[in-house]
Symmetry: C2
Subunit: 249 residues, 2 copies
DNA sequence: TAGATTGTTAATCGATTAACAATC
DNA sequence: TAGATTGTTAATCGATTAACAATC
């Protein structure tokens, strides 16, 4: 709420840095573009996208160019939307030519903060927490899981997937020591709010919540929720609508 | 795309059944209302919401009434939005009074197809797949996990969380036998598309995809994607923006 | 009847898309 | 210069919200 820029207006370009108000939906798509660009860089012309002159040229990544039309197709969006999205980052393409893959990749990384590392703490070492702990691949993307938190004496002190399980009552010091930036809540619903309070007290301002129900957090704390039951329910809705449509026809 | 009703128009009220075009965002909120109503039913007046005369009346659920204002507050949305959302289901409230909790709950369940059971198959018995298999609580909501699918000979034939791991090459018959309605993809990105193709060939039309990257599916197949890396990246974006804002001030 | 609250219309807001001038 | 493609403006679309007539 606080400090929201005027509707439609891009925030002031402070100091040249891209501190603008980028719509949430746009940010989500920007990360998708970044992912797609990664694939483009690796294999030249991956799926049907004919890049001129690259058939025999080898991996000449330095001056590889992609048009908004091509990139949009790969990401599955409208090219106008893609150009609009990229325009929030400033000007990074060349009219009449397209976007330099390396330059654009870097601009996206910079804008999204993907150059930096954001250590993660996972609270709740149950099925899901353990699965997250064992999941390779987050670390490579800048999200190393550094810490597991739980309140179960039987788990505290043990190691899960090579990570120490720390008493959640020591969250503050442990998070400070591990320089944790993001907290993941993988506990039962009943304790999710308490755990959130603890994480916030430990200085964490970004939370990914897998527990059902919504969390109450102070302003300035960002919460994203992943609700598996909700996703299933949305699929169920479509199933049931299909069913009803079929029957009534 | 096919069969989309005119913008703004509610689809024809076929046969009295609620076969209307409900916006996706509305459907998501309807499930949230249903969840919140569940809590209201269990404990009368849970958190600060003073329900008249219920202090000593006991659990007289039969004629419990809730206003759009109250329910909206509990669900964390605007009351106008709530009424608009509910209006897609038809008329279920009483002007000047409010909504009967039991009636509204039932209407929501009916509209969302939450009365029915949607058996689930999980493809990919890695960390995440095993965690899902071991997760109690889906079954109670109408989503029993009936089947695990994998292609690893070391896993096929074993049981994980009491569920048999079946060769994915037998997906078609296994899904038919278990009456699977929803397929969950918890495999690495590299094989996600192949697995989706197999599930679709097995007759599954609703897919929850945990693998990064987007799936190509025929029309009529509904895919929802849960991208943990994306969620972390969105949190990272906010972290980095905070950082930059702080530095530049 | 007077008070209250729904269901719905109309106004607002924001996001998507089409179109095109700028410009490589 | 002619052709191509960006960056941006204006038009469209859909979703949110405010306001109020209907009505219990």
């Amino acid at each position: 709420m606080a400090g929201t820029a005027a509707p439609g207006g891009l925030g002031p370009a402070v100091d040249g840095a891209a501190v603008r108000t980028i719509p949430e939906a746009t940010v989500a798509r920007l990360t998708a573009y970044l992912q797609v660009l990664g694939h483009v860089g690796r294999i030249t012309a991956p799926a049907g996208a004919a890049t001129a002159g690259s058939v025999l040229a080898g991996p000449d990544r330095a001056d590889e160019i992609i048009s908004s039309e091509e990139l949009a197709a790969l990401a599955g969006v409208n090219s106008a939307k893609l150009r609009k999205d990229l325009s929030y980052l400033g000007t990074h393409g060349t009219r009449g030519v397209g976007y330099d893959v390396a330059t654009l990749t870097d601009a996206l990384r910079r804008a999204l903060g993907a150059h930096d590392v954001y250590p993660v703490a996972v609270a709740g070492v149950g099925h899901l927490g353990s699965a997250l702990a064992g999941y390779r691949g987050f670390a490579g993307r800048g999200f190393p899981i550094r810490l597991l938190l739980d309140c179960d004496p039987a788990k505290i002190g043990t190691a899960v997937a090579g990570l120490p399980v720390v008493d959640i009552r020591e969250a503050a010091s442990a998070c400070r020591d591990a320089d944790v930036a993001i907290g993941v809540i993988a506990t039962p619903e009943a304790v999710a709010q308490q755990v959130a309070d603890v994480l916030i007290a430990a200085g964490i301002r970004s939370i990914l919540n897998f527990a059902p129900g919504s969390l109450t957090v102070p302003e300035g704390v960002e919460v994203r929720r992943v609700d598996l039951a909700l996703e299933l329910q949305l699929l169920a809705f479509h199933e049931s609508r299909r069913e009803r449509t079929r029957v009534s026809t």
